[in-house]
Subunit: 500 residues, 2 copies
């Protein structure tokens, strides 16, 4: 049995190599690739992804798993080997349910749709994108059918990003959250407002870069195992636990974008760098789920990076970088400015108080599309009316409305809710951290993050994909994902800033 | 038969994807990869290379080729399809002769040896490297035996880089060349010397970069299909005909290094960018051989880039970039300075008059090692005595002698002579170009390279690997590779510079 386990590990190590190679192809495309290299890159990506899929779904993997699943029953269910078999089996079962032809067709359609969506957004014309999106929704439904029977048609999609999570669970969480978020927003909007004009000035891009590097270095990002580059859309990727890279976008007239996105991607990168080295080249490498990943990025971006303590240490340093812009802005004004709440049209620019509302809107629309209660052609109307309900703003056009996000054109249905769930988890973890580390806030105000990193590392990062996300949250916080901690966090923070 | 050809093309297109992916893994390792990413990268490279080898040597490829070879007899032997079958068959036959186990073992040994060589060179201690090199020479001999019977044990190695070329041919060429090069060097050394101190001053690296970009842009390098980066050792690589990248190393106190290496890599890149688009993802993509490749890089570096005409256009521009360094250096002094001949220890720094002598020395040593007429332990002595004979200099240590080049530690036997052959071919082409394009030198002195690029593009670049190197040279120049044109070029150039 040992030999069979070793054989499976070798096969899946090679599968992991191919996945990592695909990630490098993607990173290079976003960061370096010259314009005309795209067609060849598409072919290379197709070949690598097909080989990876073939490797995972090979009869040999299936046979080994069948035998090893029996063997696993005699193992400690929490041992690495038992979990390795469990996670590998889950990956295998998901992959074999989806025919290779479907994967190829879906990949082709979404590649084409991406271009169509770009054009539709540029021309602010939803009808250009509508036929593509109809095809994608149709294929997404077909994808779900491969996993029938299911409790809810949306479950197989959610499961891609949040293993083990059910649609009904997310709906229950969001139902509890929605009215509270809307009410909090109303309270904030009825309070005296804060200023943040000073964030919108010319800020030298190289200095923005240098300050961001200082911050994430202080967080504990290991530059021997990573690097930073510029790209149109910030992201984190990794080709190994020892090669975890982030990208950042710099706006020359607004410091908020690069500043917080560097911290955000830094949080993702700390997670990947913190996975146990023994999980390298195994299915247990990587993050437990997108929500858990987002809990780390949002923690280092918001709970730490937008806190009073953080800036009581870093603000004077930022002023040294930008004396002309900030010497007349005091710490309190700066702190309030970076936490200004303003209902806005664009999710990626949303503040902490409104962000989740953007996500809920998308989740409801996705579920309605999948259930057949909403047609693609009626999307703009459904979008705009929900924007009015939840945020009190109406998009002046579809480019700033239903066409704003890339996800649907890439076939990423089931993805959005993980952004909000990540926020909730970050606050749940934070409450435990405050109890476990009474000196934590004081350390932050001295620019010390060693104990914080050690805490998330030993409780979250090191485990990689060993535990399901809900299981992991339960294990660390004593409860499943719920919205209470996040609402406590928001209320406490904004009541202080807005004085209510 | 059409269907079988299409099937083979599909299989080899995927093999090409894997080769290109391996090239990206290598490029990223040299240019971007953080230090600790090396181990994972080694695994990924191993997996991709094994899959590429499996793809090429699969029984399906063998069966298709067997049938298509018969079919090819009814085709025009110069048609793309006939040549596709011929080149694919050659690649296949070479690959199947070498067992996969040998490939894996060789890869492992050379990977380890690279580190050993680095240490040996750093410590200037050949005996550290000796055991590794003995193993490599042994494996290289075993490699040759896979191709027995052969005319000469060195033939299978040479054939990797110069398809169809025989050791006896190279020896005949070099035998004719050696005494003439030594004699020319003596004449130059007995003439009044020229100065080049002004090249060794602080030169701002960004400005060096910008000037190099101007030059290769003017040459015709297409930035929509390429990019430049910095790396420890300059090189050119490509992931498609439409994604051809160069790297350059910049020395802050010597302008000669980056200046000419940018032109050199630019020449390689022009070749790859000029291959016919219909050869994309086929075995006919890429350069005909290393010598033909080097003929292009050396042409744009030396015949063009170190010519009077080139600098009569570009020198005033270079002076604008570096007024403090060059305003007091006149064009003639600069031209002579960049062409200064000085026997030196290091091949990569050698001038045009001494470069080939460095190569001959290596070729003779490689052949003697393969023939068994020289033992690895006696290498330093063999090296130093030849340096004295050919160049009149003796290395003060092995780091600047036998340990200077990376090639042997990487198992690259059979490679060196292509550097010298490329020089010879560049001059042979040049003589035809001067006849075909009477206005060529005048165009160069106006900074115009369009007709030159068009000439090499239609006669060399566009054909990719369709023709064997000797066949291609014959076709374009009317004779095989020979040293006469190169000696005429050197004699004419240096007699003018050194006044003999």
């Amino acid at each position: 049995m040992k030999a069979k386990l070793a054989q499976l590990k070798t096969l899946l190590a090679e599968k992991d190599d191919l996945d990592k190679v695909a990630a490098l192809l993607e990173w290079d495309q976003q960061v370096n690739m010259p314009h005309d290299g795209a067609e060849a890159r598409g072919n290379q990506m197709g070949t690598i992804q097909r080989l990876a899929h073939e490797k995972l779904t090979s009869p040999m993997v299936g046979d080994l798993l069948k035998e090893l699943k029996v063997h696993a029953k005699s193992l400690d269910p929490d041992s690495d080997d038992a979990r390795f078999i469990k996670v590998a089996n889950r990956d295998y079962k998901t992959a074999v349910k989806v025919p290779g032809d479907f994967v190829a067709e879906f990949s082709k359609i979404t590649t084409l749709s991406h271009g169509v969506w770009t054009a539709a957004r540029a021309e602010d014309n939803f009808s250009i994108f509508q036929p593509s999106l109809e095809k994608i929704v149709d294929m997404v439904r077909r994808y779900a059918e491969f996993f029938a029977p299911y409790d809810h048609v949306y479950d197989p999609l959610l499961d891609i990003y949040e293993p083990g999570m059910k649609t009904s669970e997310v709906q229950a969480i969001f139902n509890g959250l929605r009215s509270e978020q809307v009410a909090l927003l109303k309270t904030i909007r009825n309070s005296p407002q804060v200023e943040n004009d000073f964030l919108y000035q010319p800020y030298d891009v190289q200095k923005q870069w240098d300050f961001g590097v200082e911050v994430i270095s202080q967080y504990g990002y290991d530059w021997n195992r990573g690097r930073q580059d510029k790209s149109a859309h910030p992201f984190t990727t990794n080709f190994s636990i020892n090669d975890v890279r982030i990208t950042t976008r710099f706006l020359p007239d607004f410091i908020g974008s690069a500043l917080f996105s560097t911290m955000h991607e830094g949080g993702h990168a700390l997670y990947e760098q913190g996975v146990s080295q023994i999980y390298e080249r195994t299915p247990l490498g990587g993050g437990a789920s997108l929500a858990i990943h987002e809990s780390q990025s949002r923690m280092f971006e918001n709970l730490i990076g937008r806190s009073q303590q953080f800036w009581s240490h870093f603000y004077s340093r930022l002023q040294e970088f930008f004396p002309a812009q900030l010497s007349n802005v005091d710490l309190d004004t700066f702190y309030k400015g970076i936490n200004k709440v303003e209902p806005s049209l664009i999710r990626v620019e949303a503040d902490e108080a409104t962000y989740n509302l953007h996500v809920m809107l998308r989740l409801e629309i996705e579920i309605a599309l999948l259930e057949g209660n909403l047609e693609v052609k009626d999307l703009p109307e459904a979008w705009n009316s929900r924007m009015e309900d939840y945020l009190g703003v109406t998009p002046p056009n579809d480019a700033q409305g239903v066409l704003q996000d890339v996800h649907w054109s890439s076939g990423l249905f089931g993805y959005f809710s993980t952004y909000a769930l990540g926020n909730l988890v970050s606050a749940q973890l934070w409450e435990v951290m405050e109890k476990d580390m009474p000196a934590m806030l004081e350390q932050m105000s001295r620019g010390e993050f060693g104990e914080i990193l050690d805490w998330v590392r030993t409780r979250i990062h090191v485990h990689g994909r060993k535990y399901d996300p809900q299981e992991l949250v339960q294990q660390v916080t004593g409860s499943k994902i719920d919205p209470l901690a996040y609402m406590r966090y928001l209320t406490s923070k904004y009541s202080q800033i807005y004085g209510f």
